[in-house]
Amino acid sequence: MFEVHKDNFDQEVLQAPGLVVVDFWGPKCEKCLALMPDFERLAEQYGDKAKFCKLDTSGNRRLAIAQKVMGLPVIAFYKGGEKIAELGPSECTAQGIEAKILELI
């Protein structure tokens, strides 16, 4: 899994080919921590079809806000440098994320 941050977000997410899934999380967000094992499992399962990244918003606040993320957790889907879909705090479940991945790959 790629750890993305303000210095490599452009290159690893926006300029990457194909579907990129980014987990916006923070160390104080319990829901994010609870979701992490599910996200890692999905990354293993679908790793050959999409690129999975996680972004610790605690050190990348401006980057997160620039991506219109101001609440956690958020799972965002990028393709060709554009955000094409997003699951917000109330939609982030293992099943929800998997359904969205299957829809987009």
């Binding site: 319990e30 829901k31 109330s90």
Partner: protein, 406 residues
């Protein structure tokens, strides 16, 4: 080992974790099912200042981790799964993934979630500046201006926490100027905090923003006037709703969906108990949830002992059983017991006597309508076939009934 757990706990907040610790420490096979990480709402409160003994230096997540570690140290099992329904009579819980678990008892501690306001923009801008969790999202609002809706303990406490990050916090209060529902200590601190402002007699009518929160429309409830206020974030603390949909029809709920229990935390279903915020209760705090959990676990243990003892010794017995409901506190009981013992002993192995102390086992006494001690109930093949009240217990009466059964 049997596949039936002694206690199945649904929900891993402070109520459930406390019940798990008490249950496991009493050597009961205890399973706790939690859909996320243990801790519940308490894990999303960073500043935890009112758990006795931990004035400073602990946080909600740290305290909840300690609760979970404590429970597992005594052997409680914590499983990650989501319970979607229960069968209160059979004591079975059904999970989202199709699995099911059976217990001798169930303790429901599903907790509550923040109530949403239900105004335009709220759902669309969730995670875009609309938040219900200061701990989760406060970082994003460093040096920004935010609005908090609500005026109870949570609203005022979290507003104070948010001022560590935000440039300003404006609290929108529905009451008249100076009136807050929060505890006096919290009020005092909020009034003194230079970063906190108040707007009185008002509520939020709409949250505005294009992809991210830009402002709110406020409505004065007295004048009905609306005004717009620019803001970067909206935190909503207007109470909670209990997560009890999955037990509807199985246990009695009040009109708002909270689980009704007696003082032993037992619900309307025998052997099904409840603890924590989802229960009808006066105060919803970590310490009260934990206390509920302790009561529920001890009541569950007692239930198991009473029910198993009665079922094995009386209901599943092939011979006729005379159950003597007595209590050593009533002299008449002590006086009559040798009479009963002698009368039954005359039948040797053909009949059996089982003494039931009503002080220790009120549940069974109540179920069979025994209000006076001594009373003798005659069971055969799991059913009551006859009974003798206080003044009817004589050797001849006992003999007459046993002869008629045999």
């Amino acid at each position: 080992m049997s596949n039936i757990w002694d206690i199945i706990i649904v929900g891993g907040g402070p109520g459930g974790l406390s019940a798990a610790m008490y249950g496991a420490r009493s050597k009961l096979r205890t399973l706790l099912i939690e859909k996320a990480k243990p801790g519940g709402q308490a894990a999303s409160t960073q500043d935890m200042e009112n758990y006795p003994g931990f004035a400073k230096g602990t946080t909600g997540p740290a305290l909840m981790q300690a609760f979970a570690d404590h429970a597992t140290s005594f052997g409680a099992e914590i499983m990650r799964n989501e319970v979607v329904s229960i069968d209160a009579a059979q004591k079975i819980v059904y999970c989202k993934d199709g699995s099911q678990y059976q217990g001798h008892t169930i303790i429901l501690s599903p907790g509550a979630i923040p109530r949403t306001l239900g105004v335009r923009g709220e759902q669309a801008l969730r995670g875009k500046g609309v938040s219900y969790c200061a701990t989760c999202d406060a970082d994003f609002f460093t040096d920004l201006d935010i609005v908090v809706l609500g005026n109870g303990d949570a609203a005022i406490e979290e507003s104070h926490y948010l001022t560590k990050f935000a440039n300003s916090v404006t609290i929108v209060v529905i009451h008249d100027e100076g009136v807050l529902d929060a505890a006096p200590m919290l009020q005092e601190r909020a009034f003194k905090n230079p970063k906190i402002n108040f707007i009185w007699n008002s509520t939020i009518q709409e949250i505005k923003g294009d992809g991210i929160v830009e402002g709110v429309v406020l409505r004065n409830i007295k004048t009905n006037e609306t005004t717009e206020l620019e803001t970067n974030g909206v935190f909503i603390y207007i109470g909670t709703i209990p997560l009890t949909d999955f037990v509807k029809g199985q246990v009695n709920l009040d009109s708002r969906g909270y689980i009704i229990t007696d003082e032993r935390m037992e619900t309307s279903a025998e052997g099904v108990f409840a603890a924590g915020d989802a229960r009808v209760t006066y105060l919803r705090q970590v310490v009260t949830a934990a206390a509920d959990g302790a009561v529920a676990a001890v009541a569950a243990e007692k239930y198991i002992i009473e029910e198993e003892g009665f079922a094995e010794s009386v209901l599943h017995e092939s011979r006729p059983v005379a159950v003597a409901f007595w209590t050593p506190m009533i002299p008449k009981c002590i006086e009559i017991m040798p009479v009963i013992e002698t009368a039954i002993a005359a039948y040797g192995t053909q009949a059996k006597l089982w003494k039931l102390d009503t002080y220790r086992n009120q549940r069974v006494a109540k179920r069979y309508g025994v209000v006076q001690q001594p009373t003798v109930l005659f069971f055969h093949q799991g059913e009551v076939v006859n009974r003798l009240g206080e003044d009817e217990i004589t050797p001849a009466a006992i003999k007459g009934i046993l002869d008629s059964i045999l």
